[in-house]
Symmetry: C2
Subunit: 203 residues, 2 copies
C-alpha cells in the first residue's frame, strides 16, 4: 500500500517516513510555490533515505493569501497552517492518492490540526490521513531522531529545507522588506535537515 | 531502549507493540485485579508476538472505585478511563520504567486522555509516554491489523482478552446482579484477540 508523505527534509518528516516505511510503500512529496528552490534539499535527503520523491507545485495564490494573513496577524502560526491545509487538500485530491501523511508532532505549535479537521479531510476526499508522530512527545522524538539520523540544525532564515517558512519569508521580504520579516518570525526558531542515515540503520 | 506497553492481547495493543518494536525493546504489561484470570490470554498472545510479558497486580480499591463511578453514571466510559489512568500511573511509578505506551487510537471513545493529561503523567513521573496509534484512524488501523494478524472478534461479555471491562463486569455482576451489567455495557461492543501473526510477517 502506498502512502504519500509531505516532506521537508527535516528531522520530523524524515522520521515519519521511516516509521511508515515499516508498513507502507513510502513516496515523499515536497510542496513548492516556485519562488525559491527549497525542494532541492528535500530531494537530496529523500535520496539519502532511499525513498522516491516528487515535487508538487502549489498555486501561488495560496502563498499570497497566507502572506496577507501573516502580515495582518503579525505572527506566522495561522498562515503556516493555512498553507499546510491546502497542501494536504491538494495532495488528497490527486486521482491516484489513497493515503497521505505528514510529520506533525504532538507538541508542535504549528501546523496543528484538530482531530475533527483531520477527519474532515479524510471524509471529503475519501482518503486516509496518518500522522505517525502524533502520539510521540518531543523528548521521545529526539531520541529516535538521534538513533536514525545525523542532522544539521540552524536558527532563523538560513534555508536548509523545504519548510513553507522560507518561501513565506521571501514573499514578505519582497512585498514589505526585510524588517517586516524580522518582526514576524521568531529569530530563535530552529530548522533541521537530515544529513545522513546512521550507518547501523542503513544496512 | 526499553518501552513497557500496556497490553490486553487485542488487535490495538498488539499493533502498537509491533510498531514500537521497530525502535524499542518492547516489554508487554497486562494489568489485573485478581478477580478474573484475564492475563492468561494476554500471555499467550504475547508469546505469539514474541515479546516478553509481565502481569501487574493493581490495587482492588481501583476496581471498586471504578465500579461505583460506573454504576452511578450508568455508562462505563469514565470508569474505564479511571482504571487506565491508574494503570498508567502505577506503571510510570515503577523504578526501572522510563518509557510507557498503550494502544489507544485516535478514534477511540474510551479511554481517551487529552494531550495535557498525557504530558501531566510524563512530567510528574519523569517518563516518556507514547501512544503509537494516536495518529491513525480506524480504517488505516484495520488495514494494518489485517496485514499482520489473524484475529478473533466477539461481542459482549465473552472474555477473550485482558480489557478492564471483563473484571468490571464481574465486579458489577457480583455486587448488583447480571441485569445491572446488561443495562450498563453496550451489547454490540466488540472485543478482539490476536490468534496469530500472519506467516509473511513472522520471518
Amino acid at each position: 500500500m502506498k502512502v504519500s508523505v509531505l516532506f521537508s527534509g527535516g528531522k520530523d518528516s524524515s522520521l515519519a517516513a521511516i516509521m511508515l516505511g515499516q508498513f507502507f510503500d513510502v513516496e515523499l512529496v515536497t510542496c513548492n510555490f516556485g519562488t525559491l528552490p527549497t525542494w532541492h534539499i528535500a530531494r537530496s535527503v529523500a535520496n539519502e533515505l532511499g525513498f522516491p520523491h516528487k515535487v508538487l507545485k502549489l498555486d501561488p495564490q495560496i502563498l499570497q493569501d497566507a502572506t496577507r494573513l501573516i502580515v495582518n496577524e503579525g505572527f506566522p502560526k495561522n498562515g503556516i497552517k493555512f498553507i499546510h491545509w491546502h497542501a494536504l487538500e491538494y495532495l488528497a485530491s490527486l486521482p491516484d492518492i489513497k493515503t497521505i501523511a505528514d510529520g506533525v508532532r504532538r507538541d508542535d505549535r504549528t501546523p496543528v490540526l484538530s482531530t475533527s479537521e483531520v477527519m474532515s479531510i479524510e471524509s471529503r476526499f475519501n482518503i486516509q490521513y496518518i500522522r505517525p508522530l502524533e502520539g510521540y512527545g518531543r523528548k521521545t522524538i529526539n531520541v529516535l531522531v538521534d538513533m536514525y539520523f545525523e542532522i544539521e540544525e540552524k536558527k532563523g532564515d538560513l534555508m536548509i529545507g523545504a519548510e513553507y517558512e522560507f518561501e513565506l519569508r521571501e514573499e514578505i521580504k519582497n512585498l514589505y522588506g526585510e524588517d517586516k520579516v524580522l518582526r514576524i518570525f521568531p529569530r530563535d526558531h530552529t530548522h533541521s535537515r537530515v544529513i545522513k542515515m546512521r550507518e547501523s540503520k542503513t544496512s
